[in-house]
Symmetry: C2
Subunit: 249 residues, 2 copies
Amino acid sequence: MTPSRDAFEARLRQIGADRYHDRHPFHTLLHGGGCTPDQVRAWVINRYYYQHSIPMKDAAFMSRVEDPGLRRRWRSRIEDHDGTDTNEGGIRRWLRLAEAVGLDPDYVASTRGVLPATKFAVDAYVRFVREKTLLEAVAASLTELFAPKIHKDRIAGLLQNYDFADDSSLSYFQNRLKEAPKDVAFGLGWVLDHADTQEKQDAAAAALVFKTDVLWSQLDALHAAYVEPARIPPGGWQPGEGLLNRQAA
Amino acid sequence: MTPSRDAFEARLRQIGADRYHDRHPFHTLLHGGGCTPDQVRAWVINRYYYQHSIPMKDAAFMSRVEDPGLRRRWRSRIEDHDGTDTNEGGIRRWLRLAEAVGLDPDYVASTRGVLPATKFAVDAYVRFVREKTLLEAVAASLTELFAPKIHKDRIAGLLQNYDFADDSSLSYFQNRLKEAPKDVAFGLGWVLDHADTQEKQDAAAAALVFKTDVLWSQLDALHAAYVEPARIPPGGWQPGEGLLNRQAA
């Protein structure tokens, strides 16, 4: 017998409790004020690659959806990141954060210096959404269920611990607190409706596990490269590169 | 003007000198006898995922080659790994190594416990070969130019430092010393012949850089997970799992 909708939702939430990247030691460092300016910069540079790939992931999803209603419902995700006439969008907000931590936004947008491991993980997510079932693609997006808490912790921790933090530099996170709940409420309902067999529930749970791996791996790579004993791999950002002129001076 | 064949070959060889994973600290540990049994096991488990993906990569390549001669020339790579009536093949040899270090070969072959970051990197390579030009796909294989030295160092280092090392457990590396040179001589000639513009040389060089990133990232993930201060990510192999019965007893 297929487990109930409630039991399945509890299973998905447990995956977040066990594996979401709020448990990663890099976030403890970052939110607690333990990061050096260069560690914050490395995080901003690498996390940009994720942000910049998300609308491509959402377009890949929409390219496979035949139902205009579902596409229309999904489209706001791309607008939230890429912007509209009245909303600068999450990617520009992220570049504002980059500037606030002393990085040249053009350097960050070039994605040079992004760790290869970050690219492999993020690209795996885009391809997952391009290749797997629609159910798995939507289920993978459900890490947003766990995002509001980490965004609140991050805003509070950054404001308390870092001079660069203010309403402008942290507007990305403030906006995600508004945007993510509507997306995830829809996504969760859709997954609960469509995972109507044990096999589909298992596939959806595995997709969510995969996505937690995508997030965790990015922080693992960042931690290994930039936290002592730091080992920056060939091609990774070297502190001092890509700074705003006023910083380099 | 397009740089000469010799200058282009020197450029490719320099990429190896700068970025090949023989320079990674995990290999220094491994070859110098500094790895614990569990660190060797973690390496065997994760590296298996690479070995098991290589014939899929080669099949992806052949699926895009229209010239029967080139496909015939390439086919021996799959035979070398998957085996023939008279050759057990590299994958079985790798599982013999797994057994020699106390791992259940069925556990290793299941690829459970492989680090997510290993999967992301290796899968990126398979997809690279599936999606990029044939020139880039062949150029990415040229890390084999740099492999004989690391295989010789590894055989010598493992024999000297670890009880499990003998002709049987190390036969994978002994065989690669015989197999790789014929492959790479062909691959290098093919790339030098076909990269006949600056743009193609640049693309081939970038493909080789990409491949060095694939190899380096695997060791970075292994080092971060299993060398102190070790941080095994969710889903990664935990020491004690997947042992042969005689070891667990």
